[in-house]
């Protein structure tokens, strides 16, 4: 037996053991439901309804795909119907006009839709919230208008008729169920692991996530493209089922319906979109009944009911039906908290990466229109030292930190580590070089747990933590995930938050949240840590604790830059300080030395001593 084979067998055996260990009643229930759905056509008299059922399942696949964008990445896309249409017409054109066989045409449809999703993602990448919704909504109009404007390509109002397929509606249904299960499982695997946590961090506080080296733009683009590709596959298969691609099917109402399904059922759980679609189908049947009784067009009644449903969910907090039902179930049947699955993860105290070189800034300047925020700043952060950056409000301290961290580009000046220039490096690259900054505001991710927040930082050093490897759970990805967890727990232990690992970060006190921010930054294994007002609002006891932590980090060889207004705290921790006033450095040295400086006294007007 070859080595590779032995490794595969051993990995499979390990996987089997882990599966047995992790098997739960919920997994049994899910297996029974999926099994029942798969055998239903064989035991129930459904043959006449199979096309409708298969069509519903494909729509559910697209809705779960949309949850990747809306739920995981927080992109409020109203263009999923357009991607379904692109996939459908790519398939129909390849099959009806190109005469392609089924599998190549499906692959083509997925690729075309993924490409369209990538382009749309690039175009909307810099937009946020409502603007993304509006632009994707426009996209859904553009697609349907394009299709109807070129009847030679799309078949016009009569649609494009596909060659007869060998797949029966029952085969489509079974295939759809398999795809739906895969889409749900992929969501469940990704959401609590590195890619999902990074996306969640980007969704909640993009700036803080970028500060920890999360490639926010790339991840969001990936999630959007994946969401589009899933819709493309569903669209391609659904036209194979319908045997006709009709432009009017993929109008903006379809996008609206899918979005409502996701929001109605709950975007943060893959079962939410399925539940949402079931509710909308129920609305549709109800609308038919009301329409026939009252002589109203059913379509209008359906839209009305769907709108009321959406308003109800939003009025109840917007989490969706499935999370609300789960919450209610947990209240009715509280269960003992499951033991944290971290038996193998022993925390390791944070260690700085090989750190013998200083972080050096020379001549940093930044102007915001007429305001000169920073003027010709020179700064040197030696490993194993704490440098305080002080000055009155508006003196340019935070600007300096942002320039060092790569959050802002300087107008002039350079930043280097060990002689290597970081000028061209964006924030993530600087974080990879070990230069990490924290935000002035409390940059935590309130919906993540404490451990998950630290894992976002620990994800920076991962090489095998991409979506595909995470989905496949390759041995390297698993080993690296365990290592990242050890690092994250170590950072939490260091700051004293390990006991709170499973609490939502939003439930921590303000000081604990600042400690969590520090732990997340430490989990990135920085060489230079740039802290913006870490002691703001802390009690004397908390200040002592924080000072001890910083001192510990200094002894571990980290270079620390601390921006702080609390001069007692600065005196307690800083080896040297730089004083800024109106963007210019006015003094530098030990705090005692600069305190005697006349300019410094003048800057701190009203203080006889600093």
């Amino acid at each position: 037996m070859s080595v590779a084979m032995r490794q595969t067998v051993s990995a499979l055996a390990l996987g089997g053991r882990e599966l047995r260990g992790a098997w739960s009643r919920r997994a049994t229930l899910a297996t029974i439901i999926v099994g029942a759905a798969l055998v239903a056509p064989a035991v129930l008299p459904l043959s006449g309804r199979m096309p409708d059922l298969a069509g519903f399942v494909y729509l559910a696949v697209a809705a779960v795909g949309l949850a990747y964008a809306v739920g995981l990445a927080g992109i409020p896309s109203l263009g999923q119907g357009a991607f379904l249409g692109i996939g459908a017409f790519a398939e129909a054109i390849a099959r009806a006009k190109g005469g392609w066989p089924l599998l190549p045409s499906l692959a083509c449809a997925v690729l075309v839709t993924a490409a369209a999703g990538t382009l749309a993602g690039l175009a909307t990448g810099r937009l946020r919230g409502a603007f993304v919704a509006v632009s994707t909504w426009i996209l859904s109009w553009i697609v349907v208008l394009t299709l109807t404007s070129f009847p030679g390509i799309s078949g016009g109002a009569q649609g494009l008729v596909l060659p007869q397929s060998r797949l029966t509606p029952t085969a489509h249904y079974e295939l759809g169920i398999v795809l739906l299960v895969l889409a749900v499982l992929a969501y469940l695997v990704l959401a609590p692991r590195a890619p999902g946590l990074a996306l969640a961090a980007a969704r909640e506080r993009p700036q803080a996530a970028v500060g920890l080296g999360v490639p926010v733009a790339r991840l969001r683009l990936g999630a959007f493209a994946a969401s589009a590709a899933i819709a493309g596959l569903a669209g391609a298969l659904s036209v194979e089922l319908a045997q006709i691609a009709d432009p009017s099917t993929y109008g903006p109402f379809l996008s609206f319906k899918l979005f409502v399904a996701v929001v109605l059922g709950g975007a943060r759980t893959p079962l939410g979109p399925i539940a949402g679609l079931l509710v909308i189908s129920a609305f549709s049947h109800l609308a038919e009944q009301i329409g026939s009784l009252r002589g109203l067009p059913p379509g209008r009644v359906e839209m009305m009911l769907t709108g009321y449903g959406l308003l109800l969910v939003l009025g109840l907090g917007g989490a969706g039906l499935v999370p609300a039902a789960w919450k209610w179930w947990r209240r009715v049947r509280p269960s003992a908290p499951a033991p944290a699955a971290r038996s193998t993860a022993l925390g390791e105290p944070p260690s700085a990466i090989a750190n013998r070189e200083p972080l050096v800034a020379r001549g940093l300047s930044k102007r915001f229109q007429s305001l000169l925020a920073l003027d010709d700043l020179d700064l040197e952060l030696e490993p194993g030292t704490i440098h305080g950056l002080i000055g009155p409000n508006g003196s340019g301290k935070t600007t300096a930190l942002r320039l060092l961290a790569g959050d802002l580009a300087p107008d002039s000046g350079t930043v280097a580590v060990g002689g290597q220039s970081l000028d061209a490096e964006p924030q993530r690259e600087r974080a990879l070089h070990g230069v990490v900054g924290t935000e002035q505001t409390t940059g935590i991710f309130p919906e993540l747990t404490v451990l998950e927040s630290a894992l976002v930082g620990a994800g920076l050093r991962r090489h095998y933590g991409g979506a595909l490897r995470t989905l496949l759970q390759t041995p390297k990805a698993r080993a690296e995930a365990a290592e990242a967890e050890r690092r994250a727990i170590g950072a939490l232990e260091f700051v004293g938050l390990a006991e709170n690992a499973d609490r939502p970060a939003g439930e921590l006190s303000a000081h604990e949240q600042r400690l969590l921010m520090l732990a997340s930054a430490l989990a990135t294994e920085p060489r230079a840590l740039l802290l913006d007002e870490p002691a703001a609002g802390a009690s004397p006891a908390e200040l002592e604790h924080l000072a001890d932590l910083l001192a510990d980090l200094r002894t571990k060889g980290l270079a620390l830059l601390v921006i702080e207004h609390n001069l007692r705290f600065v005196r307690r921790v800083a080896d040297t300080v730089t004083v800024l006033a109106a963007g210019r450095r006015i003094a530098s040295g030990t705090l005692d030395a600069v305190a005697e400086d006349e300019l410094v006294r003048a800057a701190y007007l009203g203080r006889s001593r600093i």
């Binding site: 069509g55 109002a157 009569q158 319908a242 006709i244 691609a245």
Partner: protein, 404 residues
Amino acid sequence: MQRLAIPLALCVLCAGCGGSDAPKAKTKTLLIAVNAPFSRTPYLGQTIANGAELAATAITTKDGEYRLRFKRYDTGLSAGEAVANVRRAVADGAVAIIDEGTGLNASWRIAADADVPICVTYQGGEGLVDPTKRPNVFRIAPTDHGTAFRLAEYLVPKKLKIALVIDDSTYGQEGLKSLRRSFAENPEAVAMRLSVPAGAANLAPEVLRARRSHATALLVWGEPGTIAGVVSAARASGWKVPVYTPATGGDPLVRQQLANHPDWVDGLTFATGRPTAEVGPGPFLSFQRLYEERFGVYLVGVKTPDGADVVQPPDLAMYSYDFVNVLSAAIQRAGGVKDGKKVIAALNQVSVPGANGDHRGFNERNHEGVVDDDVYFARFEGMTYQPVKDDPLSRNLTALDQTR
């Protein structure tokens, strides 16, 4: 033992009472699906369904007695939905489908696989009906080919410069194919061709373009809303151009949308299948009476200059009515519905008197129930229409009473 004897005796008694020498014939129900745009163009959908429901309701064959049941499936004018409806109808066990025509290019196969005949009773698109390739597809409605050629035949001698305005509905796109062919030999008669979106709120820019092309007539082929939009845009701009349309021009929706400007409707001329035949208006008037007794009159919602309510004659309904009667005859001939192929074959062999007095029927080589020449022209005046006097076929037709 005694306790058992009494129930046993009762059972024997009951069995004796319930039995008879000859088994009682059971009436079976046959489902006929009506696949039409009930929500998008309610008048059209309702009329097709009403016509079908007015026809034969029971069929007696050697296989037994059948009662007909009709089920409505709404296409919303979407080809995808129309195809899905045909699938549902087949699943529901429909023995025949009466179809408006949208999505037929895909739906006929589904019906063919189940040996279910489909009859188109509205759309006249070329290629929809092909006895060789689509043996289960029949049509009782004027063809686009016939309508377009009759329009060309009528308009070209008038030396008009015609702007063809086509909307992007299935109806419009199918009509365009026929118009291209019908005007191919007289390209000088066409000033320009314009494509407009069906259901557009404002067609003023398109109409302006047509006017700038020096067109002296508009031929609008599209949904009723498109026709109303074009007439409205032309008249609002003061352009008194003659407007010609296919059958959709006679749809009540056109007059309803132009109700505030009755004079704008005057002169609008449309081509449609003739409701009366050589035998005179008698058969159609009988059909109309029957229809109105059952469903009431269809009030258009506008009045004549004299203040009379305008009603819509059920001319479109006669096509679905005729098909159900042809189907009934075919089922009788086939001896039942057990074998769909036999019913389809029988449809090629029967003919029945139609609602307008013509004979309706098909054969192996021709699945068109209305011949191309059976298209006449009617012109609106005072919110009602009369056959035109400048066309030989139309001139001899009797005007239908359209007021109450």
